[in-house]
Symmetry: C2
Subunit: 248 residues, 2 copies
């Protein structure tokens, strides 16, 4: 494998661990990062607990080029991500004026305003992550990007982060071809093809449909010439079994 | 929080990290474990790489009561989970006769049979996890349960694992009530209610629909009496704002 710019996602949320909510942020982040030339290589899902969040952030920010967190930046008692990021970096939490003004635009009784103002607290020295939905911003401290958990808001925030901000490289591309052949039939030949192309990630994924039992072969990498070369070999391998390759 | 029997899930699969495949095993496992009296408290998603799989399994099996892995037990070159579990426990990989017979039931040319026979390899001393779909079994080594990645097969294997096998306790129950109130409005009162009931996990989840902007309040715990008590307080809190609670 060629050296890649790496990313880790930390999903903060009891609602994911309890099975109440189906996470979709992982897949969205992964696909977005492919385009930005960053490779998602590690994900953790952890509960809304201060000690665990602080330890996980500190462990991951030392191990990966970029770390994203989702969840826990709303206004209620279980929204403790900002506090935990501040603790992890040993920074004070301060009220950010720009976020404060956004929050104050929507009128509310004093008690409600006080609760909502929790969302204006960010670690001292943090950089904002814009929020195109019009709500409070996310923020970045060093290589840690703190995003909302609600998918619509998370996606909006992520859309404002540029490749340059992440140090991203070449985008990752993929080519896929399928065949009505089992993994058992092609496994050995696939392994030989993979060995010849260490810079391309060759995965095989079985599928079942009304026409039968087959396998999709997915090739992923940043070098289109190398991708096309391995694709051609896989294509020939399928033809050698006397079946028709299925284009995606 | 009361002491719980804990579980960790390790999702092994480049296809999840690349964004190609939407994971659904996390949610299914979480909901199943609730019924078995086991609490899913940690999830990792890691690539199909030997060193990372071995390290992650060894770290997690020492930190949680039960560890589940999904993915990487098929017949192709990227299916290396059995090898990695054997390495993690420093056991030899052996051919399991029961799985071998299942594989041999489906006829195939020698080369295909050889590839498929990879799925009969399990670490010495491992216990089988039955596979009601009729395919090769999963296996258990100490507190590590190795399941398939394909959701239909994973779910079938998991359905054969009893509460006794996991040392499970009381099932986790949840009660939910919603209201057309924002998190900002109820945040402070919710925090006070949560403080009074440390054994119940009280989460708040904003929602939007055509009738407006609201919040679902989810209470989770094993003690139904304690759950009903906090539910009553949350219900009263909603009424105190002059709005009607929404039953799930």
């Amino acid at each position: 494998m060629t050296q890649s710019v790496t990313a880790c996602l930390i999903i903060i949320g009891n609602e994911i661990l309890s099975g109440r909510t189906q996470d979709t942020n992982l897949k969205h982040l992964a696909l977005s990062l492919n385009e930005l030339g960053v490779k998602l290589v590690h994900v953790r899902v952890i509960p809304d607990e201060e000690r665990i969040i602080v330890e996980t952030v500190n462990e991951c920010r030392g191990s990966f080029d970029n770390v994203f967190t989702t969840g826990g930046i709303g206004p209620t008692h279980d929204d403790i991500t900002a506090d935990c990021i501040a603790l992890a970096f040993q920074k004070r939490l301060i009220i950010n004026q720009e976020i404060k003004e956004i929050i104050e635009r929507r009128e509310a009784p004093p008690e409600v305003m006080e609760t909502r103002m929790r969302m204006a607290r960010i670690p001292e020295g943090a950089t904002l992550i814009q929020n195109p939905t019009g709500g409070p911003h996310g923020f970045q401290v060093e290589n840690v990007f703190v995003l909302a958990g609600v998918p619509m808001v998370m996606q909006a925030m992520l859309s404002t982060i540029t490749k340059e901000r992440l140090g991203g490289g070449e985008p990752t591309r993929s080519l896929t071809v399928g065949a009505y052949l089992s993994e058992g039939q092609i496994g050995k030949k696939l392994g030989m093809i993979q060995e010849k192309h260490p810079d391309i990630d060759l995965g095989s994924y079985p599928f079942y449909n009304e026409d039968g039992y087959g396998t999709n072969l997915v090739m992923r990498g940043t070098d289109m010439v190398a991708l096309k070369a391995i694709f051609e070999e896989v294509h020939q391998m399928i033809l050698s079994f006397g079946v028709e390759p299925i284009k995606e």
